[in-house]
């Protein structure tokens, strides 16, 4: 299972990007995206902002749960902060990264190294809870970054401390 996490600013600009793999079920925490997934993930995340903008008015929560899916198997969960900064988490249960070719070529990723990938259910309570905890942990770290006098809002976060805290949260929950 591979994850792509991004923080998107108020002008649809990426503030922070991070890729990682699962650490549960013996995962080594390394993302296994294909080469073309690099831009596909960005496209998908960017496209799901449409859904965020719709859902944000319907729910009072900051955690927006499962927002969208992109065939064949990419799930997008979202989180929105008070100043309209969005956290998006793309989940690819199988190692076949979100690519168009994997739609046409038969499900090639049968040889997935993670047994759970076929049965991944993005709306299961446990999954949602894990993602929620991850988001809140990142939110804490993000708030602290925001308080830094050297950080300007809506600019990319370069802090290695922040990155390591995101990685720690990922390792802890996902």
């Amino acid at each position: 299972m591979s994850y792509y996490f991004t923080i998107i600013g108020t002008k649809d600009n990426p503030i922070f990007e991070h890729e990682f793999g699962t650490s549960k079920q013996g995962g080594d925490g390394v993302a296994r995206f294909r080469e073309e997934a690099r831009h596909m993930n960005q496209f998908i995340a960017h496209a799901s902002l449409d859904i965020v903008e719709e859902v944000q008015w319907a729910s009072g929560q900051m955690y927006l749960k499962l927002l969208d899916r992109f065939p064949p198997a990419t799930y997008i969960s979202g989180f929105i902060t008070a100043n309209n900064v969005k956290f998006l988490l793309l989940t690819c249960p199988s190692d076949s990264a979100p690519s168009r070719s994997s739609i046409t070529s038969a499900a090639s990723a049968r040889s997935s190294s993670y047994p759970s990938s076929a049965t991944y259910n993005p709306t299961a309570p446990a999954t949602e809870e894990a993602v929620k905890s991850f988001f809140y942990e990142v939110y804490d770290a993000w708030l602290k970054t925001l308080m830094s006098p050297f950080y300007h809002i809506n600019t990319p976060i370069g802090s290695p401390v922040f990155r390591s805290r995101v990685a720690a949260a990922a390792k802890k929950y996902l």
Binding site: H39, Q42, D50, P72, T104
Partner: protein, 782 residues
């Protein structure tokens, strides 16, 4: 006879006579186009008239209201209805009324089928006129749109007139032909070679050619159209470049419309739906026959018991319509009239005397019209036609001309057949079945049990006494062979619903389909179940009334879901799954912005289920983008719009087109994506994500490379034929067009210097010769 013809000055016969000769000059009319359309075998006029249905993207058809393309002219001469119909088909000028296009398409595709069975001498008579296909081929184009209004009474007695009603003439057994791939096996034991009465050279071939339902050949036809469009679009496109991007983005691409139309053309005859089962059968004899009445009897027996008997899942009690074809040029009318009187006495009202001239008509004759092109021929048949015209050595006019009097006679014949026989018969049958079968099922007790359990007004003895083969449970479904007998109540209900659908009584149709769904489900008749679900969803969506979004999401979505699932997974019928999804998504898209999401979801599903080929994939990806783009947001920030998603899918579509090397389409999608992202399509400077930016730029590069390759191709042709001077001229024009596309101002080009010219230096062989000059030319230009 035809007042509307006079009404429009563009539709005079003389004009249509010279149609074929007009095609080429028309292309040449534009100064730049004239450079590209040099003699080239494949772009002969006969071929381009075939591609005319999608040619609306080409500049030549946009350049004026006088579109010299085949279907339009033919249609307009032929009837006012046809003009109307043709206008709502892909040959529509951009954006005139894209809203209802899909609905019209579906309306016009599910029409009564009429089998045609002509005696040998009738076919021979028609063949003398130059139509090799015999009588079917002669009447077929005239059935596509019935002349004048057709009034239909629905189940509650309300009448409604339709302009665009049509019927489909097919060979009687065309629909059961087995395509060469052998993907579908009909349960009929005899293969479709028994066409003894049709010419033996064509017989078996034409039979399978006329069956639709083959996704592969649909793909191929669309691909041919695309290739043609690519070829034609050469250097002209910069003239319309701005115009292209400014167009309304939601207009359906003509190729997608073509894909849909081919998907719905010539539906194969199948047990689980009765749309292509004949509603009536035209039995035609000619005045040449020595013993006409005997001949008619023989034809009749052949269709009911003989070798023309349809498979036994087809109800054989369809209407027989008797036609006497009179040869005006050789035979005596008084003899024919008396024969016709005799026929009327024998067979009742369903007779017609068709007076045709048998002398072959040539285009120079005074009162001749070109035989209209069929819009609803199957993909494989169109493919065969394209192939035939491509390989034809001479570029002589392949069109066949008819005397105006013949055309008028045929129109009258079709109109009479439709309004006096087919529609009334169908109305009567609907009323009868509705009363006898459906209303019982709808009653109090009927609600609790399925049809076969209790109510079988037609075959009550059968279900109780004779345990038919292969159904251990007490149902009418023959699970071994996979069909209901045509006299079982389920089959009757299905026919009732299909008839109601064909007569556009969607309320009745959807209610009956809804009843059938549960019955088929209990019987585990999966294909029937899927088909009932499909048509129930479609009929519900076709109903003009507003659907609440709740009932839509609950019912229609569920029906589409189970239809596509059953077709694909349980029955292995990807064609039907694709048809379901395509129709569903189109109709949902028409339901306004709230349904656009669903429409996009079904389009995505079609991609996901892998029921489309590469061309279809690109087209459907484009469609997803269009669906999302059609969703409008609310408020000043347009919350809830799907701008980014539409743009994303447009990028994906561009990517698919690039993979297919269809530069024009890719460029269109890329421009659309750029427009939606709010960036300059070529610059892609403002995209915040780096990966997206790089990808868009790479895509733009590839598209430009494709465009250059296309031009290089043109130039290679030029070089063979033209002298150096014109070449240099053209180079100049094109070089500038290239940069104009990229930069709005020429100034910036000079300012930047070699930067944007970089890609131009790629060693592309045909370009080589002129590559030394651009800098000089730039100076000259500034």
């Amino acid at each position: 006879m035809n007042p509307l013809q006079d009404a429009d000055p563009l539709q005079s016969p003389q004009y249509s006579n010279s149609e074929s000769s007009l095609v080429l000059p028309k292309i040449r009319a534009s100064p730049v186009a004239s450079l590209a359309s040099l003699p080239y075998r494949r772009s002969n006029p006969s071929l381009s008239s075939l591609f005319a249905s999608t040619a609306s993207i080409l500049p030549k058809s946009r350049s004026g209201s006088v579109t010299p393309t085949a279907p339009l002219v033919a249609g307009s001469v032929f009837s006012p209805g046809a003009t109307h119909g043709a206008a709502s088909l892909p040959s529509t000028p951009q954006g005139s009324q894209p809203a209802d296009e899909a609905r019209t398409l579906i309306l016009r595709s599910f029409v009564p089928h009429v089998g045609v069975f002509a005696s040998a001498d009738t076919d021979e008579l028609v063949r003398q006129k130059g139509l090799s296909g015999g009588f079917v081929e002669l009447v077929r184009p005239f059935g596509e749109c019935v002349h004048g209004k057709v009034t239909i009474r629905d189940s509650i007695g309300a009448s409604r007139s339709w302009d665009d009603f049509g019927i489909r003439f097919t060979g009687l057994r065309d629909g059961i032909g087995v395509p060469p791939g052998g993907t579908r096996r009909s349960t009929d034991s005899r293969p479709g070679t028994a066409n003894g009465y049709r010419s033996s050279t064509e017989g078996s071939d034409a039979a399978w050619l006329r069956v639709g339902g083959d996704v592969r050949s649909i793909e191929e036809v669309v691909d041919r159209h695309l290739a043609y469009a690519e070829e034609q679009s050469g250097p002209t496109d910069y003239l319309n470049h701005k115009q292209n991007t400014a167009e309304t983005p939601i207009a359906t691409s003509p190729f997608y419309a073509l894909y849909l139309r081919k998907l719905l053309s010539s539906l194969p005859m199948a047990p689980h739906e009765t749309f292509s089962h004949p509603v009536a059968c035209v039995l035609a004899i000619s005045s040449r026959s020595p013993s006409p009445i005997e001949e008619l009897r023989r034809l009749y027996t052949a269709t009911s018991t003989g070798d023309q008997r349809l498979p036994h899942w087809v109800n054989n009690e369809f209407l027989r319509y008797y036609v006497l074809v009179h040869d005006e040029d050789h035979d005596d009318i008084s003899k024919s009239t008396s024969l016709f009187e005799q026929m009327k006495r024998h067979f009742g009202l369903h007779c017609h005397l068709l007076r045709l001239r048998t002398n072959q008509c040539v285009s120079s004759d005074e009162d001749c019209i070109r035989i209209p092109t069929c819009e609803w021929i199957s993909a494989s048949e169109e493919l065969a036609e394209i192939h035939r015209r491509e390989t034809a050595e001479d570029i002589s006019d392949p069109n066949i001309y008819l005397h105006e009097s013949d055309a008028a006679a045929l129109r009258t014949f079709v109109r009479e057949l439709t309004t006096q026989s087919i529609v009334p018969v169908m109305e009567r049958l609907i009323a009868t079945w509705n009363e006898q079968v459906a209303s019982r099922r709808r009653g109090i007790s009927g609600r609790f049990m399925s049809l076969s359990k209790k109510w079988s007004p037609f075959s009550s003895s059968r279900t109780s006494s004779s345990p038919t083969s292969g159904n251990p449970s007490n149902s009418n479904y023959d699970s071994l062979q996979g069909f209901y007998r045509p006299d079982s109540p389920e089959a009757t209900m299905r026919k009732l619903a299909d008839y109601a659908f064909m007569l556009r009584d969607f309320k009745l149709a959807s209610s009956v389909y809804d009843l059938l769904r549960t019955d088929f489900n209990t019987d585990k008749a999966w294909k029937h179940y899927a088909a009932a679900n499909e048509m129930c969803a479609i009929a519900t969506l076709m109903t003009p009334s507003n659907l609440s979004s709740k009932s839509r999401t609950e019912n229609v979505d569920q029906m589409l879901e189970s239809a596509s699932y059953s077709f694909l997974s349980r029955c292995g019928a990807p064609f039907y799954a694709l048809r379901t999804l395509a129709m569903g998504l189109e109709l949902l898209k028409l339901r306004g912005s709230s349904a656009a999401d669903d429409a996009a979801r079904w389009a995505t599903k079609a991609l996901e289920m892998r029921v489309v080929g590469p061309v279809g994939e690109a087209l459907f990806t484009e469609r997803v983008s269009a669906c999302y783009a059609s969703r409008k947001g609310t408020g000043s920030m347009s919350w809830g719009s799907r701008r980014r998603k539409a743009a994303f899918w447009a990028v994906l579509a561009a990517d698919s087109w690039v993979k297919l090397e269809k530069g024009v389409q890719a460029e269109k999608c890329l421009n659309e994506a750029g427009r939606l992202y709010g960036v300059d399509a070529d610059g892609a400077m403002d995209l915040p994500f780096e990966g997206m930016r790089i990808f868009m730029q790479a895509l733009g590069e590839t598209v430009r490379a494709l465009r250059r390759a296309r031009r290089g191709y043109d130039r290679a042709r030029e070089e063979r034929e033209e002298d150096e001077e014109t070449l240099a001229e053209e180079e100049m024009v094109e070089e500038i067009s290239e940069t104009l596309d990229r930069r709005p101002h020429r100034k910036s080009l000079v300012g930047v210097g070699a930067g944007p010219m970089g890609p131009l230096d790629t060693p592309l062989s045909p370009l080589r010769s002129a590559e030394d000059e651009p800098r000089f030319k730039d100076d000259q230009f500034e």
